[in-house]
Amino acid sequence: MGHLTRATALARAAVRGSTANGRRRPKTHISLLTNSPFARQISFETELGPEHRIVSLAPDLGRDETVARVKEVFKATPFDLLVVDTFPRGLGGELADLLPALACPKVLVHRDLNPRYIRECDVSKSVNWFDRLLVPGESSPFGSASHAVRTAPWLIRDAHELLSPFEARRVLDVESDTLPVVAVIGSGRAQEVEQMDRLAGRLASEFGSRAAVRFVALRARNVVERGRPPENAGRISNLWPFLQAIRGVSVSVGNGGYNTVHEARVTQTPLVALARPRLYDRQERRLTEKEVVSGFQAVRNRVAAAIAPTSSGLTESPPQYENGVYAAIDILDRLSPPPM
């Protein structure tokens, strides 16, 4: 989900008619290739407009079939610039056969990577296939390479696009304008989403009289049917992207994934985060001591502190933050000037 959100954020900036500094850009056509299970639940037409191409591979394909499909898509898709998120060799290693022979400019979006992946898959060699490494707002193993350029974090919404606290609360189905809102974000692996769902129920049991607890996930499920005691169930919000409603939230509880962490930081929303094990990155490195927790009591205590009457609460003034996607688009344009 994180990769798809980041890719969509970049694509949104690419299809705009002008850059952040007002420079006009010609029309850019996007082809977005993903095997994310969430892809079919996102309205790309709303995000990007109608004339772009989303290629969504079935998420349950095995490695060999995924690799074969990616190669087919590469053959069938004309493109002037290739942007690869995170995996320099592709998710199944398929780009090792494709990239060295590809003539167009190639860019890798480069965030943290597991050193063992770098070692075992010879990633140091692979990053040299790319003309630029774009480092979206966090330290990364090849961030100091000569062809690496760091930007601010990439966000799926600009600051001015966020809903006001009052509008956000309506989206989160919270009637009160004053009751603290705890958003438990269901993201990551299916098992983790289920755990966060249960965590939301438990926080609702603990804090139900003092706060509105919402389980926020792209694919909402009926928690009552899943067996949670109905009177204590944290209500659910089928919402993507969560960032648009974050100004209505007093504290976010989630994993240490890229988007969850950076969205909380740029909007100065308190974050209580679990560092989940990942094959390719290290959530524990992304999180600060102030953000990371490892047990329910710690979650409970941090949430209690965040919703305490003495905490600063919601603010009327919108957050100010730089969205790194615009700097990224400037860099892409310099690599491959679009036809005027």
């Binding site: 798809l4 098992q191 755990q195 049917e225 067996g227 094990p277």
Partner: protein, 130 residues
């Protein structure tokens, strides 16, 4: 495929958020369905048949979604609850009332480590990592 159990300790895995290996001693007996060695906390007498937590959850006697059924447990006396496919032991009530005691079904530092093996399936072979 045959399932091999570690003898002498409870082989059950359960938990509120993450599954914990129980490994408690002594073992109270074996599940009548899967033969898993289980401690008293993780064995349930359902219609006269002793089952482990998982088999009890999958038992045909398991009630429908949203219903509550009480299972007798030698140690707990009043038994654990199963809500649908989820398992709520008596410790769950500590959470309801804001107790700060350390709930053995809570996730702990050890839980994250317990998931690492699940994540570590080999580079460029796990297509779900996108």
């Amino acid at each position: 495929m045959a399932k091999y159990w570690e003898m002498g300790i409870c082989n059950e895995k359960s938990g509120f958020l993450f599954n914990h290996a129980c490994k408690r001693l002594p073992v109270g007996g074996n599940c009548n369905s899967c033969e898993k060695p289980v401690c008293d906390d993780h064995s349930y007498d359902i219609d006269g048949v002793v089952l482990c937590t998982r088999c009890a959850m999958e038992s045909p006697s398991q009630p429908g979604q949203g219903q509550t059924r009480y299972f007798s447990s030698a140690r707990w006396g009043h038994g654990a609850y199963f809500y649908g496919s989820h398992y709520y032991g008596p410790d769950y009530y500590g959470g309801y009332h804001g107790s700060s005691h350390n709930d053995r079904h809570d996730f702990t530092e050890a839980d994250a480590a317990s998931l690492i093996n699940e994540a570590d399936e080999g580079f460029e072979s796990d297509m779900s990592e996108s």
